[in-house]
């Protein structure tokens, strides 16, 4: 218990913390262990309290209900078979795995049918020490605590969850890679509320979500080499006041397939988005290049303002475009007009269509004229629980019982070296 209390105590005064710690010093506490095997040593729910800092929770194949909450630092949660270890919320439990400790790893398992999130890695806890995120639970952005460092979520299949498949909130230094997120009623993958997220979202497959990948008030994130198809909106970048640390700055998006994001057999996107490759609302300093952006019914990239957050200094570089309603729409509002944005799609994409027309020819240096582009109304959606199950994907190359040690900071990829992918990037699970 003294371990799981740690983060709660962080919010109290030192004196109060001392009292509380000694009050917890009774011997009735179960002993913590370095390696907890589920189900042999503990149930899924017990495992989170029993694991010691730096330890490993190793889950054997099988289907588990309920929630695993982990608050100790440097813990690794590992399934022994990505497709065989299934945490199933049964459409009653809120979250599959909630991690609040520093440098947590979650890998090689499946989480599905949770009312909220499949995997929630958060730097915010409530008065009881439980991890929370933005939402109706009484979260107040102005009281955002400092971010908690370190996370790795990999080889996870997160499907049919009512909010987010994989959700990193108020965290820094993270890697989200080789996952598959599908049927998310809000988004498949979400990174939110971090002034310096230092996060890499790479090599993931996100399909049939309301939004594939969502970044809200999340600065310094790279999104590379992902397959983002058949959602309502491929990538949604937001700056807003519902979370702290707006606007979203220094986002890099390269080497992704962002295609056919006009799938009707998906949950409705809350503000009615549909047929959109990338929506950039109130973003600052984004660099978007070397992506294949095609077949998005309404618009490939839609750059606009959000409240008083104007689009500033964003660059759309070369890439491959095809068959979008319009490839690029530039539509900031009058009261938060954009500046310093440039569209340099290069000679290889001479046929790029824009709203207003002719933007691609203007390049950098002059302020772009704005259009009042809006998308047509979206078709009705379906329940997240009814979204088709995704295919199976390959898991961790080797499974052992060594916990991972995550670095203090994540080295983000250099996107200038990334090439435009072919349409079959990560297409099959082979």
């Amino acid at each position: 218990m003294s371990v799981s209390m740690r983060r709660v105590l962080a919010g109290l005064s030192a004196a109060a913390a001392l009292v509380a710690t000694s009050a917890c010093g009774d011997t009735s506490e179960p002993e913590t262990q370095a390696v907890i095997r589920v189900p042999d040593d503990a149930t899924l729910e017990e495992a989170g309290d029993l694991v010691e800092p730096g330890g490993l929770i190793l889950i054997s194949s099988g289907t588990y209900e309920g929630t695993l909450e982990v608050s100790a630092d440097d813990v690794t949660v590992r399934g022994d078979d990505r497709n065989g270890v299934v945490l199933d919320g049964g459409l009653t439990a809120s979250n599959g795995i909630v991690g609040t400790g520093e440098r947590i790893t979650v890998e090689n398992l499946t989480v599905r049918n949770y009312l909220q999130n499949g995997v929630l890695i958060t730097g915010v806890t409530d008065d009881s020490g439980a991890g929370i995120a933005r939402g109706p639970d009484g979260y107040v952005p102005s009281e955002a605590p400092p971010p908690v460092p370190g996370y790795l979520v990999q080889y996870v299949t997160a499907s049919n969850n009512g909010l987010y498949g994989i959700y990193a909130f108020n965290r820094t230094s993270g890697v989200i890679q080789h996952n598959l997120a599908s049927g998310g009623s809000d988004s498949g993958i979400y990174v939110g509320q971090c002034a310096d997220c230092n996060a890499s979202v790479t090599g993931n497959v996100v399909v049939r979500n309301a939004v594939g990948i969502e970044l809200a008030n999340a600065s310094t994130v790279t999104v590379t080499g992902n397959r983002i198809v058949d959602n309502r909106v491929g990538i949604s970048v937001l700056s807003n006041y519902l979370e702290a640390h707006g606007p979203t700055q220094s986002l890099q998006v390269a080497g992704n397939v962002i295609a056919d994001n006009d799938q009707t057999e998906t949950p409705t996107q809350a503000s009615g988005g549909f047929g959109i490759g990338i929506g950039l609302a109130g973003a600052v300093g984004s660099d978007i290049r070397s992506n294949l952006i095609s077949g998005n019914d309404n618009v490939g990239i839609w750059m606009t303002s959000s409240e008083d957050f104007a689009p500033i200094d964003n660059t759309i570089g070369p890439g491959t475009w095809g068959d979008n309603g319009v490839d690029i729409a530039y539509a900031p509002t009058d009261h938060a007009p954009g500046s310093g944005n440039c569209i340099e799609t290069g000679p290889e994409s001479a046929g790029v269509t824009t709203e207003p027309s002719g933007l691609a020819a203007l390049g950098c240096g002059s302020d772009l004229p704005a259009s009042d582009y809006t998308q047509p109304p979206a078709p009705d959606g379906i329940s997240f629980a009814d979204v088709a199950l995704p295919d199976e994907r390959q898991g961790l190359p080797t499974v052992d019982d060594q916990p991972r040690q995550l670095p203090e900071t994540v080295e983000l990829p250099d996107i200038s070296a990334i090439e435009t992918p072919s349409a079959d990037l990560l297409e099959s699970g082979a």
């Binding site: 109706p136 009484g138 006041y241 519902l242 606007p247 409705t268 809350a270 959606g381």
Partner: protein
Amino acid sequence: MTTPSDEVGPTPGEEAPKTGGRRREFLTGLGAATVAGVGGWALRGQLAGVTEPAESGSPEPNATGSGKPGITHPAVPQRHIKVSVLELADPQPQAVHSAARNLAETVPSTTEDAGEVTITVGVDPRTARGLWPERATLAIELPAFDGDTTDLRTGGHLVIQVCAETAVAVSDATAALTALVPDATLVWERTGYRDAPTPQGTTRTGLGFLDGIIAPRTEEEQTAGVWTGPEQDTFAVFRRMTVLSDFTTAPVDEQERAIGRRRDTGAPLSGGETMSEIDLFAKSPDGEPLIPAAAHARRAHPANIGRALMLRRSYSFDPPEGAGVLFIAFVNDPQTFIATHRRLDEQDDLIRHTITDASGCFFVPGSWEL
């Protein structure tokens, strides 16, 4: 943080407190208003004082309880109002000041049954900046909004808001006050009424919906959103609005989706009871937000703009067609109103059915000292 230098973004050095603290705590303030409302207006004089500790120092002539008359006092607004916007013959700031102060400090005689009579006087933004350069830094005129009529009435040097429990009292008191500025001209005026208060101190507008559910009731919330500082200065926004009959005649469930609350109980469409907050994030399994994207309560919710909650104290009137709303808000930064209204102009299934034909933003000083 990067914000555009114009308009909505706070000008450097002039930043008002942007957040309202914990919205959840509004419940703690609710008890007081409930008590005041239960007694009905006859008891209000004795009970209204429970919302805030009594003020010390210079008493305002018409502030019998605590709170600022016609703003936070009485806690449950009186049944009748008259708002008059005047242009003075002498537009010099000093002349406006002495006229306004004289009006604010006058106690017109009314009948016994008038209930509590409050007089609230504000001056135009330019005059306010001239008179109180330190206190009225945020004073600005309102920009045009989408539903403004082409012949929108605006401007004027000062506003007089008179509230009382009887219609006769507000018209008598207003007549007595305007007689003190005989060479002023009337820019616009409007009488209004509030239907009988509910136990929570809210009221039904002419639309039939409960208005005033979400309000800054605690001292903390009022400090965050209403008062510019310890002087308890504030900005009053007046908008003479008509909700057109295409809205008032629409089916009730459509109206409810446009507001985001039930018409009968006032409960949010996201669940809960009359006084519950709306849940911006609640969704049905197929992803549809329970408070629709274009619902007024969602669009107007201050969390969207990261600002504190304004205090609304609106009245109804009966236009030839549709429903009249004399929208009144008290706010410590007019930008909060402007940024909110921009969101309503962008998308709002109630506001797109409204027109506004008179408008103004006035500085209401907490004290008239210069």
